[in-house]
């Protein structure tokens, strides 16, 4: 049942022209950043070669690219999560799901998985771009993988938050703005905490992404992302269930 809903959600995304437009624009932005980083790297490459432990292409090009995408995701995810439940409520299609033999958990997880699959596509797309570098140099696969994993976890936590906010309202636009505000707020918390080990930093998803970005697989960060996503998914399930109670 979860997969049925996930599949429908995934296919619905591609039924709207705006999705294709966003995908195209994203691809353009990714390529732009990638080429800019690559260009900068090539210019300083000769000087870097004289250093003892110089950063490689992966560290100089791929890691910053993933860092940029993490920021773009903050603005992108709300645009996709806003429709998930708010639009169903506005168009009164939620009734179909509520009266079908599926539980609130199936509905929420199905929608979450469908969207995650789509976001995974964007991340994979960006990983492919980085893999192009193998044509000229040797890649630090570990660093690329940890970045991709970190980005996936970060996006998954954003999506969980967005899904919950979408479950709170019947207006997709309100959901988008509220999600963006929440994510931006969390990011500001991270930026304003100057010390790297400040307690506030632990609150923001972006802070936990930093270690993945530098190639560090920290189980504490992993647990943070899993807990963050699970908490908002549970809240969303509760909210959808409340729909049956309060109408």
């Amino acid at each position: 049942m979860i997969l049925t809903i996930a599949r429908k959600e995934f296919r619905s995304l591609f039924a709207t022209p705006s999705t294709w437009l966003i995908l195209g624009a994203l691809q353009f932005i990714f390529a732009w950043f990638f080429l800019a980083r690559l260009d900068a790297f090539l210019q300083v490459q000769t000087q870097l070669a004289q250093l003892a432990n110089a950063p490689g292409a992966t560290q100089a090009v791929a890691a910053p690219l993933f860092g940029t995408i993490a920021l773009i995701m903050m603005m992108l995810v709300p645009a996709f999560t806003m429709r998930l439940i708010a639009e169903e409520r506005r168009n009164q299609t939620l009734t179909l799901l509520l009266t079908a033999p599926v539980s609130s958990m199936h509905i929420v997880l199905g929608k979450y998985l469908g969207l995650l699959l789509f976001l995974l596509l964007i991340i994979a797309d960006c990983a492919l771009l980085v893999l192009v570098l193998t044509a000229g140099t040797q890649l630090d696969t570990g660093l690329v993988l940890s970045n991709a994993l970190g980005l996936l976890l970060l996006t998954a936590s954003y999506a969980a938050l967005g899904l919950y906010v979408s479950a709170l309202t019947a207006q997709p636009v309100v959901a988008a703005i509220a999600t963006l505000a929440a994510l931006f707020g969390l990011w500001l918390v991270e930026v304003s905490a100057v010390d790297s080990d400040h307690a506030w930093r632990a609150l923001a998803p972006t802070g936990h992404f930093q270690s993945f970005n530098s190639g560090l697989l920290n189980s504490a960060d992993l647990v943070y992302f899993v807990l963050f996503s699970a908490a908002f998914l549970l809240l969303a399930i509760r909210r959808v269930h409340n729909n049956r109670i309060y109408g």
């Binding site: 619905s12 039924a15 709207t16 009734t95 179909l96 009266t99 079908a100 033999p101």
Partner: protein
């Protein structure tokens, strides 16, 4: 329809509040296989709320609902798989094609994979959607959307079909088609439909329940409802009428009333038939009887009478 058929849906003592306002109180319903039940009522009488509770979209504050022996609160999966629901606004995804949407709905209701294609073809035939499988729902006219909504409610062959105002906003030809479809569905399944169109009740329902201010105030077969509080009588036209007293004197006549120079309304007791006596007298005395029209209760009058009695 027979009382021996097992009940497919039974609701007992349903109540529902929205905030402080009690919208439905103590509603009990029973539905048997092969029966079409019409739920009548004014706007805001609590019909839609009741139907939403029967389908599990809304939880009742008290009361039990059983569908084919499964309790809706304790075994929601089994119970809901046996219900098809068309809400007031058909729950359609505008960006999907008709086929995709119906397939999604069938999978959602756990139709086995091998059966899906057959069910889809059959449902499309029944709802007259053969030619629009590939069309996007957002581009369809209102009548077709309503048909897709009904198709969605019946594709998994549910035992109970619940339709909330299925013919609202359709043109007369479409209304006729959909009524025929509901009648056809009513032979093999049980159907509840809510409506405020009385003609609909007359033409398709076996049984009627009337809701008023959240309570069921009347429930009987639709034939009996038409006779509710009905005084038998007729209107007779006599071109050369006698005096009113002479008409009143005919055996069985309870009341005679002059409507115009030539028209009289005669009310009589249910077990007598003064019509033939009157015609015989008219022939004898040269009253020149022209026509005799039996009085028929209009469902509208009956409905107003029942709701006003409360």
């Amino acid at each position: 329809m027979s009382d021996a058929a097992p009940p497919t849906l039974s609701a007992h003592n349903l109540s529902r509040r929205f905030g402080q306002r009690e919208v439905v109180h103590g509603v009990s319903l029973e539905l048997r296989r092969g029966e079409v039940l019409g739920l009548l009522g004014h706007n805001g009488a609590g019909k839609s709320t009741t139907l939403q509770m029967l389908t599990g979209a809304l939880m009742p504050h008290s009361g039990q609902i059983e569908i084919c022996g499964f309790d809706l609160a304790r075994q929601p999966m089994q119970a809901k798989a046996r219900v098809g629901f068309l809400p007031e606004t058909p729950p359609l995804y505008r960006e999907m094609s008709v086929d995709d949407y119906l397939l999604f709905s069938a999978r959602l209701h756990r139709v086995p994979h091998i059966q899906i294609a057959v069910d889809l073809a059959e449902t499309r035939r029944r709802c007259g959607l053969q030619d629009c499988g590939k069309k996007i729902i957002g581009t369809l006219s209102k009548g077709y959307r309503q048909r897709v909504g009904i198709a969605q409610a019946i594709i998994h062959q549910p035992e109970v079909i619940i339709l909330d105002e299925p013919t609202v906003g359709l043109d007369p030809a479409q209304i006729r088609d959909i009524r025929a479809l509901i009648r056809e569905l009513g032979d093999a399944h049980s159907v509840i439909l809510s409506t405020h169109l009385l003609g609909e009740v007359e033409s398709i329902c076996d049984r009627v329940e009337i809701m008023h201010h959240g309570r069921i105030i009347y429930g009987d077969s639709s034939v009996k409802m038409q006779q509710y509080g009905h005084q038998p009588g007729f209107i007779v036209t006599l071109m050369a009428p006698p005096g009113l007293l002479e008409l009143q004197a005919i055996a069985g006549v309870q009341q005679a009333e002059q409507l115009s120079a030539t028209q009289f309304r005669i009310l009589h007791t249910p077990d007598s038939d003064p019509g033939s006596t009157l015609l015989a007298l008219a022939a004898q005395n040269g009253w020149q009887a022209k026509q005799l029209v039996p009085l028929q209760a209009r469902l509208e009058d009956v409905f107003v009478q029942i709701t006003e009695n409360q």
